[in-house]
């Protein structure tokens, strides 16, 4: 890059630092919204992926189901293609597992859940499947299981996966919406900042025109300043969201993580870099639009 252009850009930013800082703070608010939306989407997506790869069925059994029929069903299931293991979980075991998971919880609602009787937890068969089992085979298996008189209900977790997929798509939509908001904010804020800077440096532009500077030489520093504004705003937003994440992480891990079976993760590095690059590009584009009425001599 032309050193004269970078020098003029850094000199310009130093001279107008208050204006640039103000613009960066204003822009970072929009970028925080975008980064937060992406953070939520990332985690819902991870959850959806986790549940999609959980090749498991749970066949809840009717209360008082005869043991020999349950054993017979269990043996029959083991012979079905695609079934890797079948495990019987009694009401007592289900209650005990739930109690152990929720033992650390302090709030009243959970204490009430723990007080539920053993009968509230039906016995079940936990059926593990091949990861590559087809949807058709799974549907057939569920249909056949439902026909057994001892089976109360079959849980495929498919509903949850579908709900999560719907949530992910809504999250992506929200992120798209926030991206548009960010785009408009960048265009408005960087554009007006650069116009103001241009007005203040009108004399400089006029001099440059007189001495034979090309368009790119004249515009270069302003584009760099706009790009830097966008990139710095995005980086600041990442720092803010990161700080919020660090502060809330322990609480999230205690509450949400055990419930959904995943760790709440921060934005992956590629996404972070992408947001900053997006900010830089948007800033440059906005600056370029702001320079349409560049002084001509």
């Amino acid at each position: 890059m032309n050193t004269a252009i970078t020098r003029r850009a850094t000199r310009g930013m130093r001279r107008e630092w208050r204006l640039h800082v103000l613009a960066i703070f204003s822009l970072s608010v929009s970028f925080v919204c975008l980064a937060m939306a992406l953070l939520v989407v990332t985690n819902i997506h991870a959850l959806s992926e986790r549940w999609q790869t959980t090749s498991q069925l749970t066949a809840y059994l009717k209360e008082g189901a005869p043991t020999d029929q349950v054993t017979e069903l269990r043996e029959a299931l083991k012979k079905v293609a695609g079934v890797t293991s079948v495990e019987y979980v009694s009401s007592t075991e289900a209650h005990a597992e739930f109690s152990s998971k929720e033992a650390k919880a302090q709030d009243d609602a959970r204490n009430e859940l723990l007080a539920l009787p053993v009968e509230a937890f039906p016995a079940s068969l936990e059926i593990r499947l091949d990861a590559d089992i087809t949807r058709e085979s799974l549907t057939g298996l569920v249909r056949q299981l439902g026909q057994f008189p001892v089976v109360l209900e079959v849980e495929t977790y498919e509903r949850w996966t579908e709900r999560l997929a719907a949530l992910v798509s809504k999250g992506v939509l929200a992120s798209g919406f926030f991206s548009v908001i960010v785009l408009l904010s960048v265009l408005a804020i960087v554009g007006s900042t650069i116009r103001l800077v241009l007005h203040r440096r009108k004399n400089e532009v006029e001099v440059l025109r007189l001495i034979g500077a090309t368009d790119s030489f004249v515009k270069g520093p302003f584009l760099l300043e706009g790009g830097a504004q966008g990139a710095f705003s995005a980086a600041l937003a990442i720092v803010i969201v990161g700080a919020i994440y660090l502060l809330a992480r322990t609480r999230l891990h205690e509450t949400i993580a055990p419930f959904f079976g995943i760790d709440i993760a921060f934005l992956p590095w590629p996404a972070v870099i992408l947001i900053v690059v997006f900010g830089g590009i948007m800033g440059t584009v906005a600056a370029n639009l702001g320079l349409r009425k560049l002084v001509t001599v």
Binding site: N2, T3, A4, R15, N203, E204, E206, V207, L208, R209, L210, I211, G212, A213, T214, D215, F217, V297
Partner: protein
């Protein structure tokens, strides 16, 4: 003699002046033999029915020092603005070393301006920049290396009597010094043509004479100078070719300023 540099980026060589051209454009050898400027039937008006220049013809040879004078509104500044393509002619042609300025594309205009130094009454410096930065920028647009820029700026500041003042901010200088900085900026790229639009208008008479002397020195080094002024006292300092702009035409007085009586007798 014009200062020569070993670097090829600037335009002096043994055969004489070579203009700075865009990449891919060739320098016509015979351009060096042509007059540096030719105005052919140039018309320019800002308002309908009130032309500033009406079919002006004028030839200026390489290395001349020419005063452009005339009453306020006679078209002195317009003439100079046409030369550095801040304006375009309505009719006619202005040939700068054989090339029609009006036919240059917008992207070629900067390359024209790199061959023309300009000095104005209002100095047109960036006041928040140092003296050095104000002069160096004329070479930075050419993409020259910093080492060469430093030495060329040093030479230019020395020529205008501002050696050692490079670090000063332009705004702290006096009017005369600011004009010297503007002149240094105009000549640092060794342009073929130097345009001065009322450069002494904001200066007291003694400073005006000093600045005029500076332009004469620059002219002696081979640069063609067009010096627009309405100050008759400057015209009387030395016998020079004077172009009087009157009623949109150029009246050529090769041997110095005309007396008011002579001016009345000149054919309109």
């Amino acid at each position: 003699m014009r200062a020569k540099s070993g670097e090829s980026a600037l335009q002096s060589d043994e055969r004489g002046f070579r203009p700075l051209l865009r990449k891919g454009h060739r320098f016509a050898r015979d351009a060096a033999d042509r007059p540096i400027l030719m105005f052919e039937e140039v018309y320019k008006s800002y308002r309908a029915g009130a032309p500033v220049l009406r079919g002006m013809d004028l030839v200026i040879e390489r290395g001349e020092f020419v005063y452009i004078t005339g009453a306020s509104g006679a078209g002195k500044s317009t003439l100079l603005r046409l030369l550095y393509r801040a304006e375009t002619v309505d009719e006619g042609r202005i040939l700068f070393m054989g090339r029609d300025i009006a036919r240059l594309t917008d992207t070629s205009v900067p390359f024209l301006r790199r061959n023309i130094g300009t000095v104005f009454q209002q100095f047109k410096l960036v006041e928040t920049w140092s003296v050095y930065e104000n002069v160096a920028i004329a070479l930075e647009v050419l993409g020259l290396p910093q080492r060469l820029i430093r030495s060329r700026v040093g030479e230019a500041l020395e020529r205008v009597g501002l050696a050692g003042r490079g670090e000063c901010l332009a705004r702290v200088l006096s009017g005369g010094e600011q004009q010297r900085v503007a002149i240094a900026r105009a000549i640092v790229g060794e342009p073929a043509l130097l345009l001065a639009d009322e450069p002494t208008g904001n200066l007291d008479p003694q400073l005006a004479l000093d600045i005029l002397g500076l332009f004469e020195e620059i002219n002696e080094s081979g640069t063609t100078v067009l010096f627009a002024t309405h100050d008759r006292s400057l015209l009387d300092v030395r016998t020079r070719r004077v172009i009087v702009l009157d009623e949109g035409k150029a009246l050529d007085v090769p041997l110095g300023p005309p007396s008011e009586g002579e001016l009345l007798e000149l054919p309109h």
